[in-house]
């Protein structure tokens, strides 16, 4: 149980990138009426930013 919880929190930045950062970026783009480049939807742009950002945080241990 303890190792499962540890693993879950280890990957939490990636989940945070998908679960929070991606929709946050999409909503901010919608408020400012910015469309996605190359025909991408706003949520796709959010995921393109949120997933790698969360991934690098898992690896580096720091958001910035």
């Amino acid at each position: 149980m303890q190792s499962v919880v540890k693993q879950m929190f280890h990957w939490m930045p990636l989940v945070f990138g998908i679960g929070f950062i991606a929709p946050l970026i999409a909503q901010i783009m919608a408020v400012w009426q910015i469309g996605g480049p190359f025909g991408l939807s706003r949520i796709a742009v959010g995921l393109v930013i949120g997933v790698p950002w969360g991934w690098q945080t898992v690896i580096r241990g720091r958001w910035i």
């Binding site: 919880v5 930045p13 989940v15 946050l24 999409a26 909503q27 901010i28 945080t57 958001w63």
Partner: protein, 327 residues
């Protein structure tokens, strides 16, 4: 047996007393041995008695405002969520208020940590526990963990290996603010990461419960963030909970941990583990931390009475070697 370092009052010379010329050679040697604070033990004892008499006057008093503030602010903050979904919320104002609730919640919780609202066995003990429980939810810091870690801080104040808050130490204010953020990073070893490690090492039932509650509260926090964000309310939940939590935690770490204890290194004595300082933000915005020395000497004195208690105790603190010049 008569002590050699005490000059008898009647002028008699005891058999084991040094001769008067030997006393003269001793020069300025004091009549009684002095401690590192320059005081003999009788003076220290008298000062301590005076200090305790004064402290007694400031214990207790009306604590219901803390309960009203805790429940009132929590209720308003919880109401922000449905109001945001219904589009009936002024988000910038709600964000500012949420920051105040997140930060101020630690003050009300802090009184509960020291059982200042009601002690174990008292009729209103449930209120003490309830105030503590709701106050720190906005910063996602369960009361069980907050209390255990804060009491450890009091027991081992400024001990690098035992004080849970020692990781907040920084050489200056700018670095301290930076560290409040850095310590919260997923790979960091400060803040809640440090607390989790200490609780795991403690291994007591209370520590295990605190760890479990921390996990549950963090998962609830993430669940609310993700749920609201994917339903189109990411900005709302960011301004009501995510951002106020970060601002509150940094503010709390800076004003309640770094500012009153800096510099921590080697300062573990009763009268040196905190320092008196004048805050540029004033008494209320620095949450009374200018007088944190009173809190560490007498945690039973509620936050709002530390300022008058300090004024009454200032001369004694000065005699005990506390630098009271800032205030």
């Amino acid at each position: 047996m008569m002590r050699k370092d005490i000059v008898p009052g009647d002028g008699a010379i005891a058999p084991d007393m040094p001769r008067p010329d030997a006393l003269l050679l001793a020069g300025d040697r004091p009549a009684l041995p002095l401690g590192p604070d320059g005081l003999d033990r009788y003076t220290r004892r008298d000062l301590r008695r005076e200090e305790m008499v004064i402290a007694q006057r400031f214990h207790g008093g009306a604590m219901w405002p803390y309960a009203v503030a805790a429940f009132g602010c929590f209720a308003v903050w919880v109401a922000f969520f449905p109001l945001a979904v219904m589009g009936m919320l002024n988000l910038p104002l709600a964000c500012v208020l949420s920051c105040i609730f997140a930060t101020g919640g630690y003050v009300t919780s802090h009184e509960a940590m020291h059982s200042n609202i009601a002690r174990p066995g008292e009729r209103l003990r449930w209120l003490n526990e309830a105030v503590g429980a709701v106050s720190t939810i906005p910063i996602v810091f369960p009361f069980s963990m907050a209390r255990l870690m804060h009491l450890e801080h009091h027991y081992h104040c400024n001990d690098p290996s035992k004080d849970p808050d020692y990781t907040d130490e920084a050489p200056n204010a700018i670095m301290a603010i930076y560290k409040t953020w850095y310590n919260r990073q997923p790979g960091g070893d400060g803040s809640i990461h440090h607390y989790k490690r200490i609780l795991t090492e403690m291994g007591t039932p209370e520590a295990r419960r605190a760890l479990a509650e921390t996990m549950v509260l963090q998962l609830v926090f993430m669940g609310v963030l993700f749920g609201m964000a994917w339903r189109g309310y990411a900005i709302e939940v960011a301004l009501i909970w995510w951002l106020p939590r970060h601002i509150g935690l940094s503010y709390i770490r800076f004003f309640l941990s770094w500012a009153p204890h800096h510099p921590r290194q080697g300062k573990i004595g009763r009268y040196e583990n905190t320092h008196v300082f004048k805050s540029r933000l004033g008494h209320v915005l620095s949450m009374g931390m200018q007088y944190h020395v009173i809190h560490h000497l007498y945690p039973g004195i509620p936050n709002h009475r530390t300022k008058p208690a300090y004024a009454a105790m200032r001369d004694i603190l000065k005699a005990r070697g506390v630098d009271v010049s800032p205030l």
